[in-house]
Symmetry: C2
Subunit: 147 residues, 2 copies
């Protein structure tokens, strides 16, 4: 974690940036917070520690982390931007439309089929997004009972 912060600071310096306490706090909170956190979540968490950190700094820092490749921007269509660490291995999402629960999965066979498809279309893929929407186990059961 400390070495991670150091590495990030080096990269920031490399592109002509300076350090700051606020930004360090945002970065630390981000990596400590669970995945799929909204900007609002992150801002809350940061400000819980240090009330003086402004929303703008949270937004700017997350954008910076995304640019450096440490964070990934997510959008599950609810109008809120979410971020997750890009350090963990790649995965896709199952989003419950009822309770909002987001779970993750990996399926290498899907990945390789995507590569194939892209190649067939002369397309050079840099990333992809696969989100499956529906009802989680809990909500599916609850839904059945209602009928």
């Amino acid at each position: 974690m400390d070495s991670l912060l150091k590495r990030i600071n080096l990269e920031i310096a490399a592109i002509g940036g300076k350090r700051s306490r606020s930004r360090a706090q945002v970065i630390e909170v981000f990596f400590r917070t669970g995945p799929h956190a909204t900007l609002e979540d992150l801002a809350q968490a940061v400000r819980k520690r240090n009330r003086t950190v402004g929303y703008a700094t949270v937004y700017r820092t997350m954008k910076l982390l995304a640019k450096l490749g440490y964070a990934k921007e997510l959008d599950f269509g609810d109008g809120l931007k979410r971020y997750e660490s890009n350090l963990e291995s790649h995965h896709d999402h199952l989003v419950c439309q009822e309770c909002g629960l987001v779970s993750e999965f990996q399926e290498p066979r899907i990945e390789s089929l995507q590569e194939q498809v892209a190649k067939q279309h002369g397309f050079l893929p840099t990333m992809h997004r696969l989100d499956i929407y529906g009802l989680c186990r809990q909500c599916a059961v609850a839904g059945k009972k209602e009928n």
Copy 2:
């Protein structure tokens, strides 16, 4: 096309709705316009024919079509909502990050793997979204030349 409009009007009537000229124009323009049109695109196209149609009507009509299942809402992460007809068979998207070109593909093997994954997680899928981002053939070639 005419029979489609009639069918839609029947469904609207069934949920207690009335007809209107503006709405009919929006619907017609939507089905005549290429896929992945933004709301702005649609509004422009409609207002080109009939300047008196307001943006709100375009927005409301597209939401209605989505609710009835005739239109699908898309979001490629550029902050603009797009719509495509839901009459064509299901497909996923290849989005060029350089020129914005969107092309479509179908891959039944991916679909079935998704079903499998969902089942394994006790998840009841209602829909999914798979977008592959990268460079289209044109832009990939152009990018190489630059280096």
